[in-house]
Amino acid sequence: MANCLQCKSFFPIPEGADDFEPGKGDCVRQEQDAKGKWFESKPVMGDTPSDKCPKFAQKK
């Protein structure tokens, strides 16, 4: 089963960061509406199953 680690949106949090935990990353996505674009980031564990995530996009 795919998980967040395999997603294009997953960026591992570097060691030394205040919120570093092994396997933890930022889920970064670009959003847009009529007013314009923005990026949002939420913390996520890499081993979180992504089968229910509508925005999952496999890393190449």
Binding site: P14, D18, D26, V28, K35, W38, F39, E40, S41, P43
Partner: protein, 864 residues
């Protein structure tokens, strides 16, 4: 075509009034404001065009995408449920930490300052720990409900038992709660509405950085533990250290979370730059922003970009994330002067031009314009055409008595003039030492119809800080130097800014009482016949039995005193519970007093600053004048006849109504009227209020103002003896003449207002509308400056202006889509005209446009 002011004959000369900007000769009056915006850069032009306004009109958000978010509710509840058994202040710190570590962080395209208060830039956060009713306003409205709504309902319901509202209600009778919750004689207390204010000590964040604050707290804990473990245990002395250790520990948790959260923004900027952004210039900007967020607020700020970002992060935590507070109280020209100097003048760090600084301040204005809390519907109605109260203060004097205006002051004013947003509003502290260059920029903002800066008398404010200092319970009130460092806490009332001693809660000062409605119930033995149908006040007698004017005067006094006692009791009960369940560990961490003493921000109060807002006072005062004149002096009518007329809403009593309407009115330099109003303000409005001693040990003083409540309370107030019909708006400012009744010119108003001793009041809002053709003429600044200098010399606390033609407002009513830039001053805040209800718009149009005549020029000592 534009309307030029007709020539005036003055001192033997004919004075012409050509436009200061000749181009305006050809701009029709009906569209002037649409030509005034000049954003400094293409970026701020773009940011304004796509601004996610959070304005409300008639309680509804103007922009359809605005909704409540669920993230804050979810994350604070998750933390709170896990944490039972820990000291409460640590639970509050963990609640904040869970929120900051796990919330969504956002970076929008084009922006230079990052950070938002909810998970989507169109959302507003909710505060279930403060007010269940305010949350339900959203949950029950499908247009704006947080999703999934069932989860939101469960979260809100969890907090009922833990909420401030539930804790405080126990101490009031059912009748007292009904009177307060009916919002007609008294404002519903903050423990039920969730409305709050705070003055964060930004200075410690900018100057020290949070890592230093953590180090300080750690050292305090280490010393405390040493004392605990030292020889000869002494319980009464040493047990006091336990809660102090908890508070310092909570400060550390909160500060670390704040640093990590800021750095998450930096990391996001870097990820965008390295993986998504293709424009090299924007890539460079994002990397610069990543560096800034990595360093601040962890470390002291070194340049202006650092300062703006650190302040923004601090603002979000203090006003939106740790707890909701309205406001934006600080003095940015003083706060940022060292950073402006480093960046713009010395160019030693984050080198930039003055125009770059102006751009940054424009960006800030647009960030504020996108920021809103999840306020209750009632409070969205009270601030029509705006998103909340965001007000900062400029000018005044430095601690050493030198002019507080500097080039940073000017950059902030230029940004306001250029970008034209309703928020943040600005207060300017007027002192004779203030430089002319800055005062001219203040004038330009006023002339352009922004409604701000509103002007405060600098010396009155400073003296007031000294006055309250004497009541400090730990004998550490403001020093003479510190008393110079003040800003308006919200719209009107001064409070200290700085590293400590700032106001931390609206339970110290804020909240309202409504004299017009109190007058109405006084006339009916305490009974509210026109709105609630209940006994809203004391039984002070049937007015038909009153023999002298003193009888009605004293009856009103009793009603007012009862209401005031209840209001301050409500605030202090709230304060008591805020110290126990709404601690703010982050605010405590950045306050030097809290840090030094190991005391929490809600509990420690070094500088009392008690006030309460009488709103609709002039309707009551004008009513007193009419009663004295027509019932007791002229004996033309009896109270019985008056009551009959009022209970008919004057229908069938038109002649009588005209008599009461034409009785002397406040604001015309009329000795008969003014003597009564002076006594009303000093003897009752202030005299009764200042008998109260509040939580902080000081008196409570009246801050007369209005915000949008003059309309809301007007709609709930029946007909009054000043000739007003039931449901009509009341007076639009604390000491402002009633709309349209100030007929003797602008200087007559000043003379009236000057008769009330400003030292007996906390503040009093004076709304004036000045002639647009005069203000926009080449003599506008000279006339206005003379007017302002006279205002100052008359020792008047405050003044603010509308400069807008009825032609433009009528055109905007017809075609609102063409008048998005038309801004008006409501009272205490400015609003986009087209976002106001028609009822509200009409009250602005009804305000008398003061024109200047030769007699006024003479009084002002003008040479033209």
């Amino acid at each position: 075509m534009a309307t030029r002011h007709q020539p005036i004959e003055y001192k033997g000369k004919v004075i012409e009034f050509p436009f200061d900007n000749p181009v305006e000769e050809t701009i029709p009056d009906s569209e002037l404001h649409e030509h005034l915006a000049k954003p400094t850069t293409e970026r701020t032009k773009r940011l304004k065009a796509r601004c996610r306004w959070k304005h409300s009109a008639g309680g509804e958000f103007v922009e359809g995408d605005v909704k409540a978010g669920i993230e804050r509710m979810r994350l604070i509840t998750e933390a709170y449920k896990k944490d039972t058994g820990k000291p409460h202040v640590i639970r509050r710190a963990n609640l904040l930490s869970n929120l900051l570590n796990n919330c969504t962080v956002i970076v929008q395209e084009d922006e230079l300052i990052v950070g938002f208060n909810a998970e989507n830039p169109n959302f507003v956060p909710l505060y279930p720990e403060q007010s269940y009713m305010a949350c339900m306003d959203y949950i029950l409205d499908p247009k704006i409900a947080p999703q999934p709504v069932e989860e939101a309902k469960e979260l809100a319901e969890f907090w009922i038992e833990h909420s401030l509202q539930k804790k405080c209600e126990t101490y009031f009778t059912q009748h007292e709660l009904e009177v307060m919750y009916s919002m007609s004689t008294l404002e519903t207390p903050g423990f039920a509405t969730g409305f709050n204010s705070v003055v964060p000590p930004y200075e410690t964040v900018i100057e020290d950085g949070l890592l230093k604050r953590i180090e300080m707290a750690e050292q305090h804990i280490a010393v405390a533990k040493e004392v605990l473990g030292s020889e000869n245990w002494n319980a009464p002395e040493r047990l006091k250290l336990l809660p102090q250790i908890d508070i310092w520990q909570a400060m550390i948790i909160a500060s670390k979370a704040a640093i990590a959260w800021a750095r998450r923004h930096g990391r996001l900027c870097r990820i965008i730059a390295e993986n998504f952004e293709t424009n090299p210039k924007r890539k460079e900007e994002l990397l610069m922003m990543a560096d800034i967020c990595q360093r601040v607020p962890a470390e002291p700020c070194q340049g202006l970009r650092d300062g703006m970002q650190a302040k923004w992060f601090t603002f979000l935590i203090c006003h939106a994330l740790e707890r909701y507070s309205s406001g934006y109280a600080h003095k940015p020209d003083k706060l940022f002067w060292p950073l402006y100097k480093a960046s713009v003048i010395d160019k030693s760090f984050q080198a930039m031009s003055h125009e770059d600084a102006v751009e940054l301040f424009e960006c800030e204005r647009l960030k504020i314009s996108e920021n809103a809390p999840g306020k209750s519907r009632g409070y969205r109605e009270v601030f029509p055409g705006s998103n909340d109260l965001f007000i900062f203060t400029l000018g005044g004097l430095e601690r050493d008595g030198s002019d507080g205006c500097n080039d940073c002051t000017d950059a902030i004013l230029e940004a306001a003039r250029n970008i034209r947003t309703t928020e943040p509003s600005i207060v300017f502290r007027w002192n004779p030492k203030g430089r002319l260059k800055t005062k001219n920029l203040v004038f330009q903002c006023v002339r352009d119809g922004l409604g701000y800066p509103s002007i405060k008398h600098d010396i009155i404010g400073t003296q007031q800080m000294m006055y309250f200092a004497q009541f400090s319970q730990n004998k550490n009130g403001a020093t003479i130097e510190e008393a110079h460092d003040w800003a308006n806490v919200l719209c009107m009332s001064p409070g200290l800014v700085g590293r400590r001693k700032t106001q931390k809660s609206r339970s110290e000062g804020g909240g309202s009482i409504f004299p017009a409605k109190i007058m109405e119930v006084t006339l009916n033995n305490g009974y509210d016949w026109s709105f609630t149908g209940m006994q809203s006040g004391l039984q002070t007698g049937n007015v038909e039995d009153f023999k002298t004017f003193d009888d009605i005067w004293e009856a009103f006094r009793k009603q007012y005193r009862w209401g005031m006692d209840l209001m301050i009791r409500a605030k202090d009960v709230s304060r008591y519970w805020e110290t126990k369940i709404l601690e703010n560990p982050f605010i405590s961490a950045i306050d030097d007093g809290c840090m030094e003493l190991g005391r929490e921000s809600m509990e420690l109060s070094e500088q009392p600053n008690g006030w309460h807002n009488p709103i609709t006072t002039i309707v009551a005062a004008n009513s007193m004048i009419a009663i004295k004149k027509l019932i007791f002096d002229d004996k033309k009518y009896t109270f019985a006849e008056l009551k009959k007329a009022l209970h008919s809403n004057w229908e069938g009593f038109e002649e009588m109504r005209k008599d009461f309407q034409n009785a002397p009115k406040w604001g015309n330099d009329d000795p008969y009227a003014d003597e009564i109003v002076k006594a009303f303000y000093e003897d009752i409005i202030s005299g009764e209020m200042r008998k109260i001693v509040n939580y902080s040990g000081g008196p409570v003083l009246p801050t007369g103002q209005a915000i949008g409540l003059y309309m809301e309370i007007g709609s709930r107030t029946g007909p009054t003896p000043d000739g007003r019909y039931g449901g009509e708006a009341c007076d639009d400012g604390g000491i402002s003449p009633y709309m349209g009744t100030d007929k003797k010119g602008p200087t007559a108003v000043l003379r009236s207002v000057s008769k009330v001793n400003a030292a007996t009041q906390k503040a009093n809002l004076l709304n004036q509308r000045l002639s647009a053709p005069i203000m926009r003429s080449d003599k506008g600044f000279k006339i206005w400056l003379a007017y302002m200098n006279t205002w100052h010399d008359l020792n008047i606390d405050h003044i603010q202006f509308n400069v807008v033609s009825n032609e433009e407002m009528k055109a905007a009513q017809q075609e609102p889509e063409k008048h998005g830039d038309l801004i008006v001053r409501v009272a205490g805040f400015s609003a986009r005209f087209v976002d106001l209800s028609t009822y509200a718009q009409n009250t602005i149009m009804a305000r008398h446009e003061q024109d200047f005549e030769p007699g006024d020029f003479e009084y002002l000592g003008l040479e033209l």
